[in-house]
């Protein structure tokens, strides 16, 4: 049985957080779907709240603390990524954006990413499409067609098994499918790896 790593990033700020709750449900749906395909999943949950100071420090100093380095390696080295943010003022919150600003521009290339968000009203739901999706498209990730938005009414008991549940399962299945069809991740790229030699750099081959 192969094992996949799944990074789950939640930018929820309150505790407990509905953003984290949504993230957990998406992770579970993905895990179940991959299990059905004979793959185990190692889920690595990242609550950005715990790394907020380190995120700001990295923005200011240009390098991550040891613990933030580990988080970034987890996110860029996973087979799949679930990224969930609360919608603030019509977009991802600042913590979410600050964190993904620290991801190297090519570190998520071809990585399947499931995007999701929570918000105070269903009127914010398209923020996923006009803000979050372009962010990951810029990073050359494969953003899944189904994004998941949860408004307060979606958590009401009457609909908990309804539209939101179905959407979570569909999104989880899409992510599992994309992870399953790819070769196993080789982990985060090594920024110090020499990928050329001097003759190439100089633009000429030695005779």
């Amino acid at each position: 049985m192969t094992s996949r790593t799944l990074a789950v990033v939640s930018a929820g700020l309150s505790q407990p957080s509905s953003t984290r709750l949504l993230a957990d449900q998406l992770a579970a749906a993905t895990r179940d779907e991959l299990a059905g395909r004979g793959e185990a999943v190692d889920t690595r949950l990242v609550d950005l709240r715990e790394h907020a100071h380190d995120v700001v420090n990295h923005l200011l100093t240009g390098f991550p603390s040891e613990s933030l380095r580990a988080v970034l390696d987890t996110v860029t080295g996973a087979d799949g990524l679930i990224a969930v943010t609360p919608i603030f003022n019509a977009s991802y919150n600042g913590l979410f954006k600050s964190f993904f600003d620290l991801v190297e521009a090519d570190a998520l290339t071809d990585r399947p990413v499931l995007i999701a968000a929570t918000g105070g009203t269903a009127r914010h739901s398209l923020a996923l499409e006009h803000a979050v999706r372009p962010l990951f498209t810029y990073l050359h990730a494969v953003v899944l067609p189904t994004s998941v938005f949860a408004a307060p009414e979606d958590w009401a008991s009457g609909t908990a098994d309804g539209a939101l549940r179905a959407r979570i399962e569909r999104a989880g299945a899409e992510l599992a499918e994309q992870m399953h069809r790819r070769p196993l991740s080789t982990g985060p790229a090594d920024p110090f790896a020499l990928t050329t030699d001097f003759a190439d750099l100089l633009g000429r081959r030695e005779p």
Binding site: L60, L194, D197
Partner: protein, 380 residues
């Protein structure tokens, strides 16, 4: 082993009293720091090169030429010389001139610079940083080593029958270091030519330094310049010292908290843990500096940053006294006793002349300036 100081040349407000030095004061302070470095027995003074405020050293050879005239032993260097935006022809000329005036007491450290707008101001594009560094330096080497150069490249206008003057002192070009924080291509470049590699080793975790120096050493051996442990390595470092470490921390903290590069971010304690910054007693600086060897191996040059973030000149000169009296003599003795015999010292003009089989005047005389018979004829 060589010890010295390197300066960025920033004009920064002293956060403890709000006082901002003038450019004139800062330039004079840089000279005073260099003179003091020689007085207290340090070996090297290196200046940055910048072309935007708040930095003053846009013209390093003017500064270093002036310092050369007022010192006897101090080795003058750069940290760094912008190999990307400077014309390599002008670098060849300026530093050969400086080399003559300083009696060979110079070397250079190549760097790319990290300020986006500086590139277009000098007609370049920061996205070409690495290709510029590669092409320009290759030309610079030829200009110092070949009397007449025909050259064509991607970034500069071609040269036909060009002779860079003056020719290097005694026919021996200045030694060159290459500095880079995290571009493996630059470690490769230094290794390819058998030049020195310098890691600034400030403001960043030591893992960067370790990886870059490791790569440089491995490739130095690959290109046949010697064994990996014979490669020529220099490191930076950042220190602030007082007799009692608590006094050092208390005095330095406001400068740290408001520093242009890392201020308002991590705490002094976090930054001390995560980067090579050492704030404390002279003994703490000695102990920490000796650990550098544990992750880069035996190395040849240690430069300290002691004059940034608005620290007043008086304080910087006190730091130099402590370095010269209490820290460097111990480090010199300790490092020298640890270094195996087959690991060389950093090249100097004298050692390079000796390696070349003695001094040779390299002057190119024009044969006949009336008929215009040109240097290339004389060179053939």
């Amino acid at each position: 082993m060589q010890f010295g100081v390197f300066t960025v040349g920033d004009v920064t407000v002293d956060p403890t009293n709000g006082r901002e030095p003038t450019e004139h004061e800062r330039i004079k302070a840089m000279v005073a720091i260099a003179l003091k470095a020689e007085e207290v027995g340090l070996d090297v003074f290196a200046t940055g090169e910048h072309h935007n405020p708040p930095f003053v050293p846009s013209s390093p050879t003017t500064l270093l030429g002036y310092i050369a005239a007022r010192t006897e032993r101090l080795l003058l260097s750069t940290s760094t010389t912008l190999i990307t935006t400077n014309d390599p022809v002008k670098i060849a000329e300026d530093y050969a001139m400086l080399q003559h005036l300083a009696g060979g007491r110079i070397d250079l450290m190549m760097g790319r610079g990290n300020t986006g707008p500086v590139y277009p101001w000098f007609g370049q594009d920061i996205r070409n940083g690495i290709p510029l560094a590669i092409e320009n330096y290759d030309l610079l080497r030829r200009l110092w080593r070949e009397d007449v150069v025909d050259w064509k490249g991607r970034f500069r206008t071609p040269l036909q029958s060009f002779t860079s003057t003056p020719r290097p002192l005694d026919g021996v070009p200045p030694f060159v270091w290459h500095g880079s924080i995290r571009s493996p291509e630059i470690a490769e470049q230094a290794a390819y030519y058998g030049d020195g590699f310098f890691h600034n080793h400030i403001f960043w975790p030591k893992e960067h330094t370790q990886r870059m120096v490791g790569l440089y050493r491995q490739r130095f051996e690959h290109y046949g310049h010697g064994s990996a442990d014979q490669a020529i390595v220099g490191l930076g470092g950042q220190v602030f010292m007082r007799k009692n470490s608590q006094d050092a921390v208390r005095e330095f903290r406001p400068y740290f908290d408001n520093a242009p590069v890392y201020g308002h971010g991590p705490s002094l304690e976090e930054f001390t843990r995560e980067t090579p910054l050492t704030v404390g007693s002279p003994q703490q600086v000695i102990d920490r500096t000796l650990t550098f060897r544990d992750y880069v191996g035996d190395y040849q040059r240690q430069l300290f940053l002691i004059d940034h973030a608005g620290l007043p000149l008086k304080t910087v000169l006190e730091q130099l006294d402590i370095l010269g009296e209490e820290v460097v003599p111990v480090l010199r003795k300790e490092f020298d006793s640890l270094r195996p015999a087959h690991v060389p010292e950093a090249p100097t003009h004298a050692s390079l002349v000796a390696a070349a089989g003695g001094a040779k005047d390299a002057t190119i005389h024009a044969v006949d300036d009336v008929t215009g018979k040109a240097p290339e004829a004389a060179a053939r």
